[in-house]
Symmetry: C2
Subunit: 360 residues, 2 copies
């Protein structure tokens, strides 16, 4: 159902914005000295069309009907990380009488955002990290957010600040994120941080939590990254792009596939490691994968399920039932990337506090 709605949205959206953007791109540029356009003028919405989602059900038959893939238990791995962090928090408190602190700004009443924030609060409580929450109505002004931000920026007990995304449309996300103190940007979304993540010889202050979590899952599953072919599906600023950059720093041969890629299934089928953050439920079918690939699924979407206690269940970018027959290891949804992302948020907050107090 979600998929059908999505396809309709894709088609109608694509016929408007994309064609508008394309006509701008193809505009008469014979008068320009430089053909290269401003990059902003190139930006297009990353909408996966049904073409990208083709599926040949026969192909899958060549694989066994039994599950082959080892399940990468993100929940268990994240618990181990969280336990380790709790130990460090105690050690810090005993040594210098301080603990790390995380502040979250939540705007509006999106159900999913509220759930994420609740999980973050719970994880902080479990690991002994102080937690502050500023809830603002969906109709709030930029000024109100800036006030909350600047108070957290100045508070020495706060070592990490995050603005829960997405923000309501009337707010300028870029401007708000730019106002966040770099030293407390535990999400690592600032362009300066992104540049340092990308560039050899540089160290970002924080590696964004989800990409860091993906790599942590690979490392904890003893998956070799160096020299391997990795395909990242999706190129969003918050997941796809930093995942690609991070895998490259780990010496993978990285290809990034997006909604405008031709034959994304063929490219993906070359990969030893697939990390998918396309934002499209069930995009990656079994036929997209090389036999033995390792699959990390960042997507999470609720779909109606009358059999479930709460009336819905979560699915990812990957068609799990098919992928599990082809991959050698795979993260489940839920219980894969999600918990590890939160563990990495705690890790970044701890790291920031250690830096603030010169504690090692």
């Amino acid at each position: 159902m979600a998929l059908i709605w999505y396809r309709w949205l894709s088609r109608s959206f694509q016929s408007q914005s994309v064609s508008r953007a394309l006509s701008t791109l193809k505009g008469d540029s014979s008068q320009q000295i430089i053909k290269s356009p401003p990059l902003l003028s190139l930006d297009l919405p990353d909408i996966w069309t049904s073409n990208s989602m083709h599926y040949d059900p026969l192909d899958i038959d060549k694989y066994s009907n039994e599950s082959r893939a080892r399940v990468i238990d993100g929940k268990l791995m994240a618990e181990k990380v969280t336990t380790g962090i709790a130990g460090e928090v105690i050690r810090m408190q005993e040594a210098i009488g301080m603990v790390p602190g995380l502040a979250v700004i939540l705007v509006g009443q999106r159900k999913d955002s509220e759930t994420y924030v609740r999980n973050k609060r719970k994880a902080c409580e479990e690991s002994g990290i102080n937690f502050w929450l500023t809830k603002l109505p969906g109709t709030c002004t930029e000024h109100e957010i800036h006030e909350a931000l600047s108070s957290y920026n100045e508070n020495p007990s706060v070592h990490g600040i995050l603005v829960q995304l997405p923000l309501p449309r009337h707010l300028d996300e870029e401007k708000i994120l730019n106002a966040l103190s770099l030293e407390k940007d535990v999400d690592g979304f600032h362009p300066l941080n992104m540049g340092n993540l990308a560039m050899t010889g540089r160290e970002p202050l924080f590696i964004p939590c989800t990409p860091k979590g993906c790599v942590e899952l690979l490392l904890r599953s003893d998956v070799e990254i160096m020299g391997k072919k990795a395909v990242v599906i999706g190129r969003s600023n918050i997941v796809g792009l930093p995942v690609s950059l991070l895998l490259q720093r780990h010496h993978a041969t990285v290809s990034t596939v997006h909604a405008l890629s031709k034959n994304p299934d063929q490219v993906t089928r070359q990969a030893d490691i697939v990390i998918t953050a396309a934002g499209v439920p069930n995009l990656v079918r079994g036929t997209w994968l090389k036999l033995g690939a390792v699959v990390i699924d960042v997507g999470t979407y609720p779909v109606k399920d009358p059999d479930s206690r709460c009336g819905y269940r979560l699915i990812g970018d990957v068609c799990y039932e098919e992928a599990v027959k082809v991959a050698s290891a795979i993260t489940p949804v839920p219980g894969g990337v999600g918990p590890m992302t939160i563990a990495m948020l705690l890790a970044n907050t701890l790291e920031s506090a250690k830096r603030a107090y010169s504690f090692s």
Copy 2:
């Protein structure tokens, strides 16, 4: 000859630094809460070994012996750009009585750096852009460079500053580049700029000259980038990385190949567009290319040539005689990327001056 020496250097260098770095990477990390290491600890010298450079001379026989590739005349295209810029400089001078200005800091006496700087000066003179040069001895202190930099940073007639790289080893390149005013960083090497180049929805102040030149050559050759498979060979901060980021902003499906990639030839053979900045003469053989690929060669290396008037000639990363039989279009070395890089430097300097004077 250059290649033999290079291979020897690779082997001996690799046996030391790489194995040291690898042993650090593989060190006992069972005590760590987070397995993900600091990124700086992952950095390895990108050394192409002879394994990467294998060559099967039989493969090439299947292609015709006649050249097929259209030559992308970078010199001619750059002249057109430079003429356009000269016109804009005149228009600016007539309208507001100002012209753009570029300042270069050259440290030491590297022959290649001196040649590059001479070419930049000549291009500035041809297009009416003011040019300043500070030459410092190879033994100079960081303080002396910072003094020169800060004087150019403050001079309102200077709109672009570049420090000719590489610097002598005793100087801290990162620190020096960080001291350069962002608004005058026409090379675009600052990490903030790199982050804005990478991130959708952001516009860097300057796109680094060589990457911008590569894309300009593609656009002027009517090569479609969107949706195409592009392989970038090399991932240096000054070429490979920003080329990959820029091609992704242009919606190519980008794969980045580097010295630690397994089977770089196989990956490259998938590409519709190959941009190579590996720093290894003749690395890319004809067998690395798909029939009809478009090839942009950023490499430039002098090799001894008794038949040449000056005793040497320049070659690139690509084995031109072979590639020309397989590719559909290719840049020559010299006369391809080099002139266009300089033209993009002029373009960035003009852009910076326009921004400084709010002139459009």
